[in-house]
Amino acid sequence: MPRSLNVFDSFDRFSVGKKVREDTWDYVTIPKNALAMKEKYDISFGPEVIPEDDDLSDRLFKAGLEMLAISGFYNPNLGKALSVTEDEILAGVENAPRKVKLGRGRERVSCKPRRGNSRRKPIIQGGPTGAPVSEGIFPQMMESYAQERVVDTLVSGVLNTVSGRPSTTNTPWEIQATLAEIKYVREACDRAGRRGMGI
């Protein structure tokens, strides 16, 4: 099996990739290849929300794998698509971490494969998930997540302002707001008695 790629290998692949117009990628390459894979692997969902047919799941995996191999991946800055083989994709899957530790101390949790609907619940990550939050209530809102028994790790919201100034993208205030968010989230963990929660 070939070695797996890292982000530097992928950037180099983009650099020597095939030139593709972005609208061609969006309107032709993706829909055409997705439909071809659907037909080749006979992918048709039934009425169930969650699949109960392992054969369908296997065919969907193969369809997704071949979709990536025949399409590659697009970089809009370079206007190029990289190429990757199925063996290289599978090498990357094989080398991906099977366990990740999130958080520190007694708040550390382990994220590891569940295998179907295991009796072990998933990690519960609570937070506004990037939704906008007023500066005046930000720490209290984050504490409302940290104090919940079932919550294992936190995901931050977006500070709407910092020191009363809009945290607009691509301005110095965006950086100030990001650092303030981290500070407030850590304070929220402390106030909930859960210092060390994964953020």
Binding site: S4, N6, S10, F11, F14, D26, I30, L35, M37, I43, F45, E48, V49, I50, P51, S57, D58, L60, F61, G64, L65, M67, L68, F73, N75, L82, V84, I89, G92, V93, A96, R98, V100, L102, K112, P113, R115, N117, S118, K121, P122, I123, I124, Q125, G126, G127, P128, T129, A131, P132, I137, Q140, M141, S144, A146, Q147, V150, V155, G157, N160
Partner: protein, 221 residues
């Protein structure tokens, strides 16, 4: 993937940080229908690990019309893609929550519950939420949605998938008729007591009602 994204990943990769990579396929967009979107979802999840040094993948199939992750179609895409990867690898998969209704409404908590059941029973390792009110309205998120997400995940873990599907049909049927006029709900500061930082009495009544509804639908919670 643009150059800014590649540069950020390079920094995290060299610092040996844990990298959670987010991608939200749009149902009804370039990909097409539910099956084609699920195929693209699987392909992009695989790319995250194989090309971009991802440790945990954060999914979020989203509906082009409603801008949420909790519709039947987007849950079906998420579940099928997760199950396909789960059956064929040990990759770590997460999903994120965008509801149509706002906090302090039963619809919001039922939307969160439907997705939590779906993610748990399809084998995902982490659930992340919730961006209520589509994640676009200021202060319209609270810890209560995360409580429900977690408690429903605990109740669902270990159940037969066919049983979960039956309950999901009932829960989805309770809120799909409200898509065009979802309840706005309340801001955090209007449904939490800011002195004690706990949900208000009214908010707890909404929580109790949602739990009762889930029990009536068959969930042992």
């Amino acid at each position: 993937m643009d150059n800014s994204g590649m540069s950020m990943i390079a920094g995290w990769y060299l610092a040996r940080d844990v990298i959670m990579m987010e991608q939200m396929p749009i149902f009804g967009g370039y990909c097409g229908g539910v099956e084609e979107t699920a195929i693209c979802d699987v392909a992009t999840m695989l790319a995250s690990f194989a090309l971009f040094d991802c440790d945990i993948h954060l999914d979020g199939p989203i509906h082009i019309r409603w801008g949420i992750t909790t519709t039947r179609e987007t849950l079906q895409i998420a579940a099928h893609a997760a199950a396909a990867i789960d059956l064929n690898s040990d990759l770590l998969l997460a999903n994120q929550y965008y509801t149509l209704a706002g906090p302090c409404t039963e619809m919001c908590l039922l939307e969160v519950s439907a997705q939590s059941m779906t993610d748990t029973a399809s084998g995902r390792e982490l659930v992340s939420g919730s961006a209520s009110s589509k994640g676009v309205v200021k202060d319209m998120t609270t810890g209560m949605e995360a409580r429900v997400m977690g408690e429903v995940a605990e109740a669902t873990a270990g159940m037969e998938v066919s049983e979960v599907n039956k309950i999901l049909d009932k829960v989805l049927g309770l809120y799909k008729g409200q898509y065009s006029k979802p309840p706005m709900g309340k801001r955090f500061q209007d449904c939490y007591d800011l002195k004690s930082n706990t949900p208000t009495y009214e908010h707890m009544k909404v929580y109790d009602k949602a739990m009762e509804t889930l029990r009536e639908c068959g969930l042992n919670i």
